[in-house]
């Protein structure tokens, strides 16, 4: 695993725009960075694929265990959210995708930092933008990327057995609008759904209607929303005013409500308890003291519901704060995780590897680099190849 410095294509902006990427730059700073890339060996990629598959499998077992052991309260999941998690899991409501974030620098096994299982983004960058970059710059190399085939296969599976007139053959897709990044991800997922045979409608999350007469969620044409792909966190939906309509609406949500268990950082403590000393896990607990002895590099405190690096504090082995991000989260509680060495990203800082799980299979990877140790929404996406 090697970080290579190169010269970006002189026309890189128009090159990435040509494949539909219109959020390559934020506040004048490039988000898409092709002045460096990561080169892996085939064996390393095999390993990362296997790690992604195994971690996802462990996570699915953990959801079952958390429900069986009545531990949802530890995740801050109660009331309506608890009902939605349990019922969606009992029904085995289908899931589409998630991103397993890994600390890996090529030495020793990759370690799970967290599972972005509910509202992962940077899918379009990983599936399309870096692929076209590779085709243009390193056509002889390979890339860990069969994301598009995976997404289309998954959507085809969601269509199977559904009769032709059934409203479930229509997919509504929603996120906060306007938001160029979220909408970019949404449109890509929509394109894959269309490829698999769905008809689709995109709708601003705030435009979703509730028809009191029919007791259904409806779109702006008052068409019933039978299936909704939502790039909007479950824990937000359940506390908003339409939350209590979810159990009666009969809408199938993608991702399903049970993903609330996996996107919650309490899952890190749950996994460490279920699979202690597992190669791909970092020591994690609700109590700092329990992992101190196994954390030679210090510990990281993460808000259970924190997003995009918010409310994360990193402590060194002496207990001094090394780096901290504030934010709107933390009232729901914290989990402690041993600090892992991240791949060094030259002068830029550090890199985190995101292995994409489509359905139940690892199908691709995206790498984000950040100044410092915490990957926030100000990070940079950099491409990769392997040979």
């Amino acid at each position: 695993m090697q970080r290579e410095l190169i010269t970006a294509r002189p026309d890189w902006q128009s090159a990435v725009e040509a494949v539909g990427f219109d959020f390559h730059t934020f506040d004048a700073a490039p988000y898409w960075c092709e002045d460096n890339f990561w080169a892996f060996t085939s064996a390393e990629i095999d390993g990362l694929e296997q790690v992604g598959n195994e971690l996802h499998k462990m996570c699915m077992q953990a959801v079952q265990q958390v429900i069986d052991d009545r531990r949802l309260a530890l995740f801050g999941i109660s009331g309506l959210a608890e009902d939605l998690v349990k019922h969606s899991w009992e029904r085995r409501d289908p899931h589409l995708y998630g991103r397993v974030d890994l600390a890996y620098d090529g030495s020793g096994p990759p370690k799970l930092l967290e599972y972005n299982a509910d509202t992962p983004t940077s899918l379009f960058e990983a599936a399309i933008v870096q692929w076209y970059w590779k085709q243009a710059c390193y056509p002889q190399m390979d890339q860990f990327n069969s994301l598009e085939e995976g997404l289309i296969e998954r959507f085809r599976a969601l269509m199977r057995g559904i009769p032709s007139q059934d409203p479930r053959r229509h997919l509504h897709l929603s996120c906060v609008m306007p938001n160029v990044e979220d909408e970019g991800n949404l449109k890509y997922i929509e394109a894959c759904a269309i490829d698999a045979g769905f008809t689709t409608t995109r709708i601003d999350i705030a435009d979703i209607g509730w028809d009191k007469g029919r007791e259904k969620f409806v779109d702006l044409d008052e068409k019933v929303i039978a299936r909704l792909f939502k790039l909007y966190p479950w824990e937000w939906m359940v506390k908003e005013s339409f939350g209590f309509n979810i159990p009666i609406a009969g809408t199938q949500f993608i991702e399903p409500a049970w993903k609330m268990v996996l996107s919650n950082k309490a899952i890190l403590a749950q996994l460490w308890e279920m699979f202690p000393q597992h190669d791909y896990l970092l020591p994690a607990s609700f109590e700092r003291e329990k992992i101190m002895a196994q954390s030679p590099l210090g510990v990281v405190r993460k808000a259970l519901l924190g997003r995009e690096g918010a409310n994360i504090t990193i402590y060194d082995a002496q207990g001094n704060v090394m780096e901290s991000q504030d934010g709107d989260y933390g009232a729901e509680g914290y989990v402690w995780q041993a600090r892992a060495p991240l791949a060094r990203a030259g002068a830029r800082g550090s890199a985190v590897l995101g292995v994409w799980i489509i359905g139940d299979e690892a199908r691709g990877m995206g790498i984000r680099e950040a100044e410092g140790l915490i990957t926030t929404d100000m990070c940079h996406f950099v491409p990769h190849v392997f040979s």
């Binding site: 991103r99 390979d142 059934d166 394109a191 269309i194 705030a206 068409k223 995009e308």
Partner: protein, 193 residues
């Protein structure tokens, strides 16, 4: 194989194209069309038997109205069928679906759109045929069985006896804005991760 990029090239190109056109209107093009966009030839649709009779000037036309109405009713056997009233009303609007058994004498247990009117295909000639007409909640008018089986969009219907009221405006039972408040209140509007 699972991480091979070879297949991705083709599929990505396909989807990139789909993505670029993703903002376009995505009404499925599964229907043929009658009537011209330029409106040179409006398609006469009678709201009911009385609307047809009111325009009849002789006994031949009176008979044509009666036969046509009966023919259109018969063709309702070919109307799109829905398992439940709710799924049918999703397409045609509240109150615009009826049990199939109430119109068609065989079968039953499913729902079909209400016949909003009927239409003459081919004018008052010898080989006159009549078709039932129904309207979806978006206001699109269809002629059942026109041109051989499929539902045909009537792009410029000329309603005799008054056009049916649009469903779209009757939104009194729909409330909006029940999702999205957390994002509005948050400093960071983005909800990804």
């Amino acid at each position: 194989m699972t991480r091979s990029g070879r297949m991705a090239a083709l599929a990505a190109a396909v989807s990139a194209a789909a993505l670029l056109s993703a903002c376009d209107d995505k009404q499925p093009q599964r229907h043929s069309q009658v009537g011209t966009p330029q409106g040179q030839q409006q398609q006469v649709v009678y709201r009911n038997l009385d609307a047809c009779l009111a325009q009849a000037t002789d006994m031949t036309m009176v008979q044509a109205c009666r036969d046509g109405y009966a023919q259109a009713m018969e063709k309702m056997a070919e109307a799109p069928k829905y398992e439940t009233q709710a799924t049918c009303e999703d397409v045609y609007g509240p109150g615009n679906c009826v049990p199939r058994g109430s119109v068609v004498h065989e079968g039953g247990g499913s729902f079909i759109p209400f016949m909003m009117g009927y239409m003459i295909g081919g004018g008052f000639g010898r080989s006159t045929a009549y078709y039932p007409v129904y309207v979806d909640r978006g206001g699109t008018t269809f002629a059942g069985g026109y041109g051989g089986g499929a539902n045909t969009v009537v792009s410029t219907p000329s309603w005799q006896g008054g056009a049916p009221t649009a469903v779209r405006s009757s939104s009194s039972s729909v409330v909006r804005g029940g999702f999205g408040s957390t994002a509005m209140a948050s400093a960071h509007a983005t909800s990804g991760g």
